[in-house]
Amino acid sequence: MSVDTSAGQPDISILGPGASLNTYCQDARWGLAVIRATILEAAHPQIGAALIENSTFVAHPWRRVFNTLLSVQRILDADPRVRDREAARLNRLHARIAGVDPKGRPYNAMDADARAWVVGSLFESTVNLSRMSGVSMDAAEMERLYEEFRAILVLLEGNADHLPATVTDFWPYFEDVIDRGLENTEAMRIILFELFGRMPAPPLLRPYPALWSAGRAMAGPVISEFLKATLPEPVRQRAGLGELPGSHLLARGVYLGTGVASRVLPESWTRTDTMIGLLDPSRAEGSGAQLVTALRRQQDRAAALLRLLSPLSGDAPAEGSAARSADRFFAEVLDQTGDGYVSWPDLAAMAREIASRLDLDADGEERLFDAFAGWWRELANALDDDGDGRVSRAEYAAAASSLASPALVRVAEVLFDATDKDDDQSISAAEHRALFRTAFSRDVETSGEDVRYTRSEFVREFLAFMAGRKGSAGYDSLLTQA
């Protein structure tokens, strides 16, 4: 596609707290830009295939949005080492994603054109949604932002050759890709037509499914229509999206409304991290974290009370319950991609999430992926009866109870080593937070601050969770929620 090699490369040192992008991604509305950009990305055949086959976007949409925001925040970190580590991690992550799509075409997440499109569509969405909010960027601001996005591409690729050198050249490139490079992919259809209808509740609302589904029933179509209305016309046509009367007005209304809200409400309320903290308390950081932790505690307690006070609904007969809990564990934890099967991409998604949270280096990540790969081999050997390379729900339920496996113990030990950053053979409260983003779940009040997890406790808790025997707030936040 469009290749421009004449211009110089932007300097990656412009990425930092002072970057113009930083002000955008601090605004909670930027989350909408991320989702919109994802639709445009998904319409790219290479990216669409990678999303469908490997990403947990469909099953865990919140996680994908949060992780994108986290990546951008890390890239804009004041410490260049944080930025470089994140870039290296993203590259390693993408290097693991390659395959052949259902039409037999190879895809590869390291493809330079595709990656340029990811960065470009994120830029275009930022500009577009900024314009719709009623405040258009001036030319200089847009230039600056574009330069920063190109710097991100330099950070990832080593050069920005696959994106045009100037904003002026960007728009023809953008239209060209839209016209000739995009397709009506399955990934795009899923995001457009299904995701908002059945988006799982964010962690804070999880105990209130009725509330969430009511809110989703009202807000889902609005957000969905809003996003559809903001898409470029050719994309809309290709996806068979008709012109819904008033949808443009709606789109403007939504964004203008949030724009007004962001002016009227205290600034801290509309900041991305506040929103994330509210939607998913386990991700709250900084000073707000204590408040959010307290809120979450209260909420856990209220939910516990509610369950205890609600009448017993004819308790499940004991014999069916073990199989049912295996079934639920399969759906909530193992099947990360939500396709009804467990295969390598599901376990890779777990490893990816852990590596991202712990900010692992290449070696640590390698060990983690090796351990998960070992577990996958073991699962496949033990459970894949029909030899189709994946484990179905029925295959899992039939043999789940006999899963006390050495490879899983190995995963637990590698995870312990990775979490134990200072290598003192125990997990401190800070190390625990890095992985689970929550405080210790066990009773710590009597022993004060200096409580630590030993290797054996850690391994035991991990195995209990993975056997589906025991829930755990920490592992729930890591592997099932969002």
């Binding site: 307690r301 516990a304 009370l305 369950r307 205890l308 017993l312 308790d315 004991a318 049912r324 025997r469």
Partner: protein, 258 residues
């Protein structure tokens, strides 16, 4: 020698544990099914919790179900699981309101119905922040199993043999912040330990009132505390401070002498 370094004549025991024995016999005496005995036990449990709290006991442990109890007929087990669940739900709110922190010891067998396991977790969560009495319910508990688990954990942590001391070992037991048991009450006159909190009862005083658990009430509990107060706790020391006062002779509740 006093490993706890505490007053040997504390007026109120810090940690009291009850082995709730005699439900079956209570029912048999009344020509009722065994399940009726279990049902009648609920009133005693609630009474004792309130009595302990009123007396200023900070830690109360109740032996509700042992790892050996799984050998009972499956009908009785099903009934017990249902009863525990109903009782727990019935009293959850009042436990919380009275500032009682509820904990469970054991609860690891997959045969525990998921609904009950969920309720147990909810009760623990609900009362976690309470700072009144701590009520530990030993459910699916086995003292030997806890010790074996602790040993396993030590080995997994690669703790060198010479660093294993009583103190460090105790930290590997479940709920390591629980103090040693001062007084064990086993109702119905049976005099056995039955694999109950083996490590924690090392220096405990035992009383064996004849009364069957469903009949055990606050006044019986007070009598047991009284017996405890009149006992000389020696913690393995050779010379009692009041050699002329043999506690066993003054215990009205003690059946015979050992």
């Amino acid at each position: 020698m006093n490993p706890k370094g505490s007053d040997t004549r504390a007026s109120v025991p810090r940690h009291v544990a009850c082995v709730m024995d005699g439900n079956g016999r209570w029912a048999r005496q009344r020509r009722l099914p065994r399940t009726a005995g279990h049902r009648a036990a609920e009133a005693a449990v609630i009474d004792v919790i309130e009595a302990a709290r009123a007396a200023g006991v900070r830690w109360l442990s109740l032996y509700a179900f042992s790892t050996e109890n799984w050998r009972r007929p499956s009908d009785e087990i099903d009934f017990l699981m249902g009863l525990v669940r109903r009782t727990l739900r019935k009293h959850a709110l009042s436990m919380c309101a009275r500032g009682i922190r509820c904990r469970f010891l054991g609860v690891s067998d997959p045969r525990i119905p998921p609904g009950l396991a969920r309720d147990i977790a909810d009760l623990v969560e609900l009362t976690r922040g309470n700072r009144g009495m701590t009520l530990t319910i030993a459910f699916d508990h086995g003292g030997r199993r806890d010790i074996v688990e602790a040993a396993r954990a030590l080995i997994r942590d690669r703790v060198p043999a010479d660093q294993v001391t009583e103190e460090s070992f105790a930290r590997y037991l479940p709920h390591p912040d629980t103090p040693d048991v001062d007084l064990v009450i086993r109702t119905s006159g049976e005099q056995r330990i039955s694999n109950f909190m083996l490590w924690q009862v090392a220096y405990a005083e035992w009383v064996f009132p004849e009364v069957l658990w469903p009949d055990f009430r606050a006044e019986h509990f007070s009598e047991c505390l009284h017996v405890y107060r009149n006992r000389e706790r020696r913690f393995g020391g050779v010379r009692p401070r009041f050699p002329d006062l043999d506690p066993e002779l003054t215990d009205p509740l003690v059946k015979g002498s050992r």
